[in-house]
């Protein structure tokens, strides 16, 4: 698409410590112009911290962050000129109405597009005349989303933006992501909802315990991973388990299930053909499985505990 595009977002060995807790530990993230980039990780992996650094709200302990080539800590106003942001945990001014909040936020960015504003309020089925204190979590999120989408931006930073939306509203949200992407905007979408990322994103960066563990297109990530087989065969499972490249073999009724390394696929298929099979299905792993592979281990649990600590810290603040 882009011959040699300079990234819209670029972080290099980004680190951030909160006291003794390392929220980010050398994160490299690169988001190219016009792409919808999924930023995937469990709670507490450092997604929100990264977004806050990109917004110049907090200063990195070390490493660099650039948005449109600008250091957001040094020049936040210039870096934010064309950025729309939806925080993960939206709180609004209790005594302003939703409509006022939308106008306030969009107004600070230069003013809403009237047509878009009306369309978004309509599609999100949002009542802008209610005071914000009466809104549920989903409605507060809608207000922030409408404010973000009601004025075109070059970059959208969205922190788990659909976590409070019902499936119908989620569809509206996805439609507008596709719309701004089609208009050439860049989107960084932080999420732990895999289906969302799978449906929307061109590229994905997976973050765990403050560092990127994987980055690439979904196709590239699958290339690195194992294929899930389900076969019915006369071969004994014990024998099959000894084959090269086979992992996690188990018997499920009459079928044998196993994962095979992508590099050993030829060997596995040959062996299966030689041994004789009566049924086979082979599927690429869902992102869900990719995810579990990265976080279903000890390190992932530890990151989860850190997240718990941060969350309790957040809720204590008044």
């Amino acid at each position: 698409m882009h011959a040699d595009p300079s990234p819209v977002i670029n972080t290099s060995r980004l680190a951030k410590n909160f006291g003794r807790t390392a929220a980010l530990a050398g994160l490299d993230l690169s988001v190219l112009p016009g792409e919808v980039h999924g930023f995937l990780g469990p709670n507490g992996a450092g997604k929100s911290t990264t977004l806050r650094i990109l917004l110049g709200l907090i200063r990195p302990t070390s490493g660099t962050a650039r948005v449109f080539g600008i250091d957001p800590w040094a020049e936040p106003v210039r870096a934010h000129k064309d950025v729309a942001y939806v925080p993960g945990d939206v709180t609004l001014w209790p005594n302003l109405t939703g409509g006022e909040v939308i106008d306030l936020i969009a107004g600070l960015r230069g003013g809403a597009d009237e047509g878009l504003r009306r369309q978004l309020i309509d599609e999100f089925d949002f009542d802008p005349r209610k005071k914000a204190r009466t809104y549920s979590k989903g409605n507060r999120q809608k207000a922030a989303l409408i404010a973000a989408f009601s004025r075109p931006a070059m970059l959208y930073l969205l922190d788990e933006p659909s976590s409070g939306l019902d499936p119908v509203m989620d569809a509206v949200f996805r439609r507008h992501i596709r719309r701004v992407a089609a208009d050439g905007a860049t989107v960084l979408l932080s999420s732990h909802i895999l289906a969302e990322v799978e449906q929307l994103c061109d590229r994905v960066t997976i973050i765990r315990a403050g560092a990127a563990v994987e980055s690439g297109t979904l196709a590239e990530l699958r290339h690195l991973t194992r294929i899930r087989f389900r076969v019915t065969s006369a071969v004994k499972p014990e024998e099959m388990a000894t084959w090269r490249g086979i992992h996690d073999l188990r018997v499920n009724g009459t079928a044998i299930e196993f994962d095979a390394d992508a590099a050993d696929l030829g060997y596995v298929l040959d062996a299966l053909a030689t041994a004789g099979i009566t049924g086979i299905t082979a599927a690429p792993p869902s992102l869900e499985e990719l995810f579990m592979r990265h976080y279903g281990v000890q390190a992932g649990r530890q990151a989860g505990r850190q997240a718990g600590r941060q969350a309790s810290h957040k809720s204590q603040a008044q």
Binding site: L55, Y85, P87, E100, G107, R129
Partner: protein, 539 residues
């Protein structure tokens, strides 16, 4: 019953730090007053002089209470009771609202409410915990008095008087919390009740009649309408009367019972006065700037502050004739005054200056409150929404700072205007309305130092901004009201900005002091605007 106890323990666990600070400060103030009286005014003659001056001055009566002969304990009670009672009331109000509507507004209550408890279980727990807290306060305060060398029975009664007022306002706040639409409005209303009780007691005491010895003053009827006035009637160190304790106790039980009944009949998170649930669909042009947003967020609160200080000013002005008559009807008072008051300032002017000094404190408080909105915006995540837009932190801070300065100015002006008008209408003599108004404005530079210092702390150590802001104001109040009594060194008293503003109309206006204070405020605010860029946004 065990659920009530568990919830009360949870509240105690959450509040132990802040309540320990409250109790130690309140009891510490009492202890300091008692120590000052027993050491600096050890002789009967010294205490008699102190008391007779006070008895002759309606300003003293209004601010402090009733002189009640000259034993060390009685002088301590006179000096310290009213302020400690107000503090006990405020402590109880904030405690109750925090654990009732505060928890409901923050969504914490639902977790508890979903367990095997009734709607009122948590209210019982809060009342239990509030009662416990005030009992501890009474005991700690009594221990302080005893430690300072006051008689033991009187010390316990004096501590009980303070604790009883705390209990009364605990119950009153519990009732207010059922009625008001939000935690914020409940806090404001209940705190205003405490302030009102102080004012009503002050009016009753200022209207009181001194006996011929000038060592004892009997309150007039308005003090019967104030729980703080009732507490004072216990007279713990002279002719003890425990009936007032029973009156306060009965009032507490009635109010608490009403609160429980009302709690049973309302929805979670909704008071009997319904909150305004809808409003305009579009933002007006006022919300186009940070200044506009800050104004919008502060204007309701500012109106309450202005009304409060206007009421104070009106009381001050309305008491003018009383003050004048106190002088006319009692030649010995006139003679005494001519000896103690430097120059030829009239009694009314003294009174006005004292009242407007309190208005200056309130003006500072309004400014601090406005500035602390920044902290709430930051901690609750709304600042993030604003600062993610192309808005510099300086603009964000600047809007609120401007509104804080406006708040401080408006509150002082409201007090001055109402005092000037009412005093003129009362035709009591004293200074011209213009002079009275100017006297209120003279405190603005000193008052502005407080929001400026608060915002500086906010820029450097945001989590401390609330504690330092309110703590500085409390310190200034103690220095101003008790500095002389406690015999604190001059340099320490000079730390209070209000020491450097002119107590018009008694003193002439000193432009140097005002200029230095204004410069301090400006420098602190300017430094904050710069330093705010250097720190992380902190929840």
């Amino acid at each position: 019953m065990s659920a009530v106890l568990r919830l009360a323990l949870l509240e105690a666990r959450r509040d132990r730090g802040i309540l320990a600070a409250w109790i130690l400060c309140i009891a510490g103030l009492g202890y300091a007053a008692a120590t000052a009286v027993t050491t600096q005014f050890a002789g009967d003659n010294e205490r008699a002089a102190l008391i007779s001056v006070a008895a002759a001055s309606p300003a003293f009566l209004f601010l402090r209470g009733l002189p009640d002969v000259i034993s060390s304990g009685a002088v301590t009670f006179f000096q310290g009771y009213s302020f400690t009672a107000v503090l006990a009331g405020l402590m109880s109000v904030f405690l109750v609202v925090r654990h009732t509507r505060g928890d409901e507004d923050q969504g914490r209550f639902e977790l508890v409410g979903s367990t095997r408890v009734t709607r009122v279980t948590s209210l019982y727990a809060t009342l239990l915990f509030g009662t416990f807290t005030n009992v501890v306060l009474a005991l700690v305060a009594a221990a302080g008095f005893i430690r300072a060398g006051l008689p033991v029975p009187g010390s316990f009664l004096a501590g009980s008087a303070v604790g009883a007022v705390g209990l009364f306002f605990m119950a009153a706040a519990a009732l207010v919390a059922q009625v008001m639409p939000s935690a914020r409005s409940a806090n404001g209303t209940a705190a205003a009740l405490v302030g009102g009780a102080y004012l009503v007691r002050g009016a009753g005491d200022a209207l009181g009649t001194a006996d011929s010895s000038l060592l004892h003053v009997t309150a007039a009827w308005p003090s019967l309408f104030s729980p703080i006035g009732w507490g004072q009637r216990i007279r713990p160190f002279t002719e003890v009367d425990t009936l007032p304790l029973l009156v306060i106790g009965a009032g507490t039980v009635v109010l608490a019972g009403a609160a429980v009944a009302l709690r049973n009949g309302r929805d979670l998170g909704a008071g009997y006065i319904a909150a305004d649930e809808s409003g305009p669909e579009r933002a007006g042009s006022g919300l186009a700037s940070m200044l506009g947003l800050a104004w919008r967020l502060q204007r309701g609160s500012l109106a309450s502050w202005c009304l409060t200080t206007a009421a104070l000013g009106a009381v001050a002005g309305g008491l003018g004739p009383v003050v004048r008559d106190a002088l006319a009807g009692n030649p010995s008072v006139a003679e005494l005054l001519s000896r103690i008051v430097p120059g030829d300032a009239g009694l009314i002017d003294l009174f006005t200056a004292a009242m407007l000094g309190i208005a200056g404190i309130l003006a500072a408080a309004a400014g601090i409150e406005a500035v602390l909105r920044l902290r709430a915006e930051e901690a609750e995540g709304r600042a993030e929404l604003l600062l993610a837009a192309p808005v510099s932190r300086m603009r964000w801070l600047g809007g609120t700072l401007a509104v804080a300065a406006i708040s401080t100015t408006a509150v002082a002006a409201a007090a001055g205007a109402s005092a000037a008008v009412v005093l003129a209408l009362a035709q009591a003599g004293g200074s011209s309305p213009g002079m009275v108004f100017a006297a209120a404005l003279a405190h603005i530079p000193a008052a502005l130092v407080f929001p400026a210092v608060t915002v500086l702390v906010f820029a450097l150590a945001p989590r401390w901004s609330s504690a330092v802001g309110w703590g500085a104001l409390a310190a200034a109040l103690v220095l101003g009201q008790f500095g002389e009594l406690l015999g604190l060194p001059g340099w320490l008293q000079d730390l209070s900005p209000f020491r450097h503003s002119s107590a018009m109309p008694v003193e002439a206006f000193h432009p140097e002091g005002a200029l230095v204070l204004a410069a301090v405020a400006l420098i602190a605010a300017g430094a904050a605007s710069h330093l705010i860029r250097g720190r992380d946004l902190t929840v």
